[in-house]
């Protein structure tokens, strides 16, 4: 009986636990975000959590692009900003009324609405723009970058330079996009008064559900054939090419999805926080997105989102008590995680699991090769000869 159970334990339950683990994660996440948090947190704290949830949505996208796709994107602020500014422009126009002009333009500019603001009077165009503009920009960038086989550190530097350029561009445009101050002072969100606490709560719910939906999307991607292919491209891009795939296309898909997620997060951030400015989209903001992902565990399903939530929470509480202390702490945490736990905090779980497995080696050995000696195939040699069993693959 026990032998049979041991054999069964080899395959079936492994898949079951992987699936039920994810399911459990979703249920727990939904419970905490949609039931517990609104019940125990004050309105102020809840809207703070809403802001963290926006960062977590960006982090889910970075986990896809970086953790699974190997693209260390240090410029997600660009896409976050595109989505955020599109939403902010719509809110300013809605506040100004039909054919009105946002207040700051009268203050700093000619009082004339630039032509490219005009389409964002429409709520539909705005909602589409929030997703499509970052996605299209990412598609154009990705097509140019990945087809030229720019990758690794070069890609990281390039993406960071984009964030610098974007923030600089925004800062210079005082009359048309608010410059250094950005866009702020929104009064309503698609007709709902933003000063009403009920509506603020509703915004939190929207952000939380969006996060859960994004997690569901990447969950499906990770278990799909595309998810396997993305890992293959991350680890052996050239080899994938020799199998007849164009790796650039595979990477573009992940990059575009990550950009769209960042855009949506930016659009939710604007009504929740009430401001978007170059500081939210520049290098510092972009790197902060990545740090949460690294700490949580970039290649895991929940790691990036959890890491982003924890880091954002730590930042808020620590900078409330020690305003100048946070940056040092953040830097130290990043160095520690990268040096000692490159898989992020999530890898602690698998490290523990491995330690337990080492204690009882028989139960977790890979299935032994079928012993066959026949004409149509070389019999497999000793399993794992030359490679110490259970040795960790280096990452």
């Amino acid at each position: 009986m026990t032998a049979l159970a041991g054999k069964l334990a080899g395959r079936l339950p492994e898949k079951l636990t992987a699936n039920s683990g994810a399911l459990l994660g979703f249920v727990l996440g939904a419970l905490v975000l949609l039931v517990v948090a609104p019940a125990v947190l004050s309105d102020f704290r809840l809207s703070l959590l809403g802001r963290f949830v926006c960062f977590a949505i960006v982090a889910v996208g970075i986990g896809l692009a970086w953790g699974r796709g190997g693209m260390l994107t240090l410029g997600q602020g660009v896409f976050f900003g595109l989505g955020g500014y599109v939403m902010a422009m719509h809110l300013k126009l809605a506040d100004a009324g039909p054919s009105g002009v946002p207040d700051f333009m009268r203050l700093y500019g000619s009082g004339q609405l630039p032509f490219w603001w005009e389409p964002f009077r429409s709520p539909v165009v705005t909602l589409l723009g929030v997703v499509l503009i970052p996605a299209l920009v990412a598609f154009g960038l990705g097509a140019a970058i990945f087809r030229r086989r720019v990758r690794g550190a070069y890609f990281a530097i390039l993406s960071q330079a984009l964030a610098v350029a974007f923030a600089t561009l925004l800062t210079g445009q005082v009359a048309t996009i608010g410059g250094f101050n950005g866009l702020n002072g929104f009064r309503s969100f698609f007709g709902y008064n933003l000063f009403d606490p009920v509506n603020k709560r509703m915004l939190f719910y929207i952000a939380a559900v969006t996060l859960l939906v994004m997690l569901l999307i990447v969950w499906q991607l990770y278990r799909s054939r595309y998810g396997e292919l993305l890992i293959a491209v991350r680890d052996q891009e050239e080899r994938v090419r020799f199998l007849g795939y164009d790796p650039a296309n595979i990477k573009i898909v992940a990059y575009v999805l990550a950009a769209a997620m960042a855009g949506i997060a930016g659009a939710l951030f604007v009504p929740l926080v009430g401001i978007i400015s170059p500081a939210n989209v520049g290098v510092v903001a972009s790197i902060a997105f990545v740090i949460g992902v690294a700490i949580g565990g970039r290649a895991t399903l929940f790691g990036p989102a959890l890491g982003a939530l924890v880091v954002a929470y730590a930042q808020t509480t620590l900078s409330e008590s020690f305003p100048s202390f946070w940056t040092y702490f953040q830097g130290a945490l990043f160095v520690l995680v990268v040096a000692f736990l490159p898989g992020g905090l999530s890898s602690l779980v698998s490290v523990r699991r491995r330690q337990r497995a080492d204690a009882q080696p028989s139960s977790t050995e890979p299935p032994s090769p079928v012993q066959r000696v026949e004409a149509d195939g070389p019999p497999p040699p000793e399993p794992l000869s030359g490679v110490p069993a259970g040795s960790e693959t280096s990452r």
């Binding site: 395959r11 499906q220 991607l221 278990r223 799909s224 054939r225 595309y226 396997e228 292919l229 890992i231 293959a232 680890d235 052996q236 050239e238 080899r239 994938v240 090419r241 020799f242 199998l243 007849g244 795939y245 164009d246 890979p366 299935p367 032994s368 090769p369 079928v370 066959r372 149509d376 195939g377 070389p378 019999p379 497999p380 040699p381 000793e382 399993p383 794992l384 000869s385 030359g386 490679v387 069993a389 040795s391 693959t393």
Partner: protein, 249 residues
């Protein structure tokens, strides 16, 4: 002479890197069912020639597979035309399982949207190739923990599911035990019957045991070509390999 169009024909292939001529006007024909070995001293241009055929190294001249010209095409296009290769250092996807590795190799023609679904069953060609290279019992094992020889077999299995008609194998038995070499050789003979196979190899014993025909490269040029016996008897080959008694002998 058969009417079969499945052969690889190289004519006057040249590869130049920054003025250094790596492959200098190579012409050769490899027919289906032939198990061709490509040998030569270090730096003779063997791997570079494989790179030229698969689109990795920019080349001039002509490489034709059947009626299709390969030179000037992109790597992934050439792969889709049925030209597959392995590398000196086994390059499997270490974090993926044997099954996942083979499934990816089988999937270049899949529709993009179908990739977004999970694999519902093991494709028959994957099952067949897994059996052919003897890795069925290891299907859910991560490729990274396979033994060196098993990784090479996995690579060959990937070529099979890729449905490659031309197989370029770069030192497939390097680092293998004697038993594994024999098994690999038998595997190559078996799969080579219906395909065009070219093996870049340093191991002369292995070459003598399994080669149908041999091409000797030296300084980017074809020095000699023919059966193992013919090539071994060629005085120019003996000269190049002077001090390497194993080939002369």
């Amino acid at each position: 002479m058969t009417m079969n169009a499945d052969y690889l024909e190289l004519s006057d292939v040249r590869v130049v890197f920054d003025g250094l001529v790596a492959v200098d006007g190579v012409s050769m024909t490899v027919r289906q069912g032939d198990l061709r070995f490509l040998i030569g001293p270090n730096g003779a241009g063997k791997t570079t020639l494989a790179d030229a055929i698969t689109g990795l190294a920019p080349a001039t001249g002509s490489v034709r597979f059947g009626r299709t010209e390969l030179i000037g095409k992109k790597v992934h296009r050439i792969a889709r035309l049925g030209v597959g290769r392995t590398f000196q250092t086994a390059s499997v996807f270490e974090e993926l399982t044997v099954l996942q590795n083979l499934d990816i190799a089988a999937g270049a023609g899949r529709k993009p949207l179908s990739l977004l679904r999970r694999r519902s069953s093991v494709p028959p060609e994957v099952e067949e190739a897994m059996d052919g290279v003897g890795l069925t019992g290891l299907r859910d094992t991560q490729a990274g923990v396979l033994a060196h020889g098993q990784k090479q077999w996995l690579e060959i299995g990937m070529l099979l599911v890729q449905n490659a008609q031309v197989l370029l194998l770069d030192e497939p038995v390097a680092g293998m035990s004697a038993d594994e070499r024999v098994q690999t050789g038998e595997l190559l003979v078996r799969i080579g019957a219906e395909r065009t196979v070219m093996v870049v190899e340093h191991d002369m014993d292995f070459m003598r045991s399994f080669a149908n025909s041999v091409t000797v490269l030296h300084a980017g040029k074809v020095l000699s070509e023919g059966t193992v016996a013919h090539v071994q008897a060629d005085p120019r080959v003996q000269e190049v390999y002077l001090g390497r008694a194993e080939v002369v002998q």
